[in-house]
Amino acid sequence: MNDSIYEESTALHPYLDTLQQRALIVGVLGIIATIVGYFTAHEQFFRSYLLAFTFWIGLPLGSIGILMIHHVGGGTWAFSIRRLLEAGSRTLPLMFFLSLPILFLGMHELYEWTHLEVVAHDDILLHKAPYLNESFFIIRTFFYFAVWGILAFFLNRWSLQQDKTTETYPTHRLQIISGPGIVLFFLTVTMASIDWLMSLEPHWFSTIFGVIYIVGMGLMTWGFMYLVALPLSRRKPLDWLITEQRLRDLGTFMLACVMLWAYTSFSQLLIIWSANLPEEITWFITRLEGGWQYIGYGMVLFHFAVPFLFLISSTMKSKTKLLSFLAIGLIFMRLVDLYWIIAPAFTKVPAEHGPSFHSTGITLHWLDLAIPIGIGGILISLFFSQLKKRILIAQNDPRFTDLFDSDKNHG
């Protein structure tokens, strides 16, 4: 059993190599464009860079989160894509490396609260200064990556250990770390979303913001895993494990994330809209005028209504081509959502007194696409190179044998 899976996994390497190389070519082209952009459009560069960074970190973080949910909850769907998720979680070091330009080059360009002369004349920012200052910001980001790195390290290490032994202690360890791990994960990602995204407009606050970001990461990861799992479901060794039913399960998870995203995003709007407080509603005013509102309406339609209507039907969910398009569309909508959060913050009409909030209008720079493509290419290439490092079905998990005894009619 072990040997045949090893051989079949190795036999898949030429296919994965092709994907890895294609992604790398796209990535390198994108990175060249990124470097050109750094020197030609310096002001715009970090805005687009932050967009790309906060978008692509969804893949390693989403993978870590879903892995922990799998270890706590079990379920047949997860065994079929477990090695994919583990490969996804091992792309985290790249994202750490990519966070350094924000921390050491771009912070001043991005965050108003790093400008001491602005803070000195702003009572609210002055009160927030013990938290929102440059050195603590850097320390916090390092801390988040340390927590995620430790989780990813052990999730991968013990899973590999379980491959080599029939004793069950590695699986128990995975289960033990995953419970508290989920709590830590939610706390740190929430804090990271506050640091990286919410503090772009340091007067604004929303307690549900982190949840929206985390759900978006989940959605993106499900979509990505679907797109990788689909071709693998037609090839050994995963062909018998990634069945139609399990592909449909991935679609169901996308549906859950779409609904949860809509629910939390609408809650944020409703609560802020009904209270109508100046320090909260201004964030929406910026984003609902000057053309930004069409992106907002577009998201209601294409980040919720259309995918929702397709995904509630199990007939539609079985159509793999349709679901691939939906997955690609939803991943793109994640980028749009983050764009709608980040970009309007830099389009404000300067106000003489107090904070400004009216928008000068919608903007789109070529770097907003070039940098996400560049980073994405590199990240996906790294994903496939990591995917090759292990056999594609995790071995010896005691839950695995219980679940799959009946459909192991496999050569």
Partner: protein
């Protein structure tokens, strides 16, 4: 006499010891052309519904339509109350305040959909049904414990008491019993 006996016969029922036996038998029975068949099991047997040619339920469409209806009712209720019947200025917001109507719209969508799912299910599956002939077979009590049953109804055009009995006996059952009406 012969005629009377046939008219009181509901059908034949084979008893199996494992879900796999039932599944194999159900597939064979369907393949042999029998259509008025049914399977009984104490636990869900994956694939049994397809094996006996059970039609896919249309309940999702009912639930979907009622969900839409509930949404329209919810939004309509809010609109009628806040704009037509009892207009009130709340925090200077417009009378027709869309975001404010969404929670009620959402809840009524869920309520209508859930109720239509529950009652639609009862209408579609014919429950509660106080009497059913299969319970006349004594061993059928074990259908809720540890035995698996497959019945072929006498109404089936292919049904012939002896031939069908022979056919069922060939499927490796524990026992084949006649089901009285």
């Amino acid at each position: 006499m012969q005629h009377e006996e046939e008219s009181t016969l509901f059908g034949l029922m084979a008893e199996f010891e494992t879900p796999d036996d039932l599944l194999v038998a159900a597939k064979a029975t369907f393949a042999a052309g029998y259509r008025k068949i049914d399977g009984y099991s104490p636990l869900p047997v994956h694939g049994l519904g397809d094996a006996i040619g059970f039609p896919r339920t249309k309940l999702p469409w009912l639930v979907f339509c009622f969900g839409i209806l509930g949404g329209i009712c919810g939004y309509g209720l809010c609109y009628w109350v806040s704009v037509i019947d009892y207009p009130m200025n709340i925090a200077g917001k417009p009378l027709h305040s869309g975001p404010m109507f969404i929670p009620v719209t959402f809840e009524l969508t869920i309520l209508f959909a859930a109720l239509s799912a529950a009652f639609g299910m009862f209408i579609a599956n014919g429950l509660p049904q106080p009497y059913h002939p299969v319970f006349n077979v004594e061993s059928f009590a074990r259908a809720s414990q540890d035995r698996f049953f497959l019945s072929i109804e006498a109404d089936d055009p292919q049904f012939d008491l002896d031939k069908t009995r022979n056919f069922l006996n060939g499927l490796n059952p524990h026992e084949v019993a006649e089901v009285e009406n």
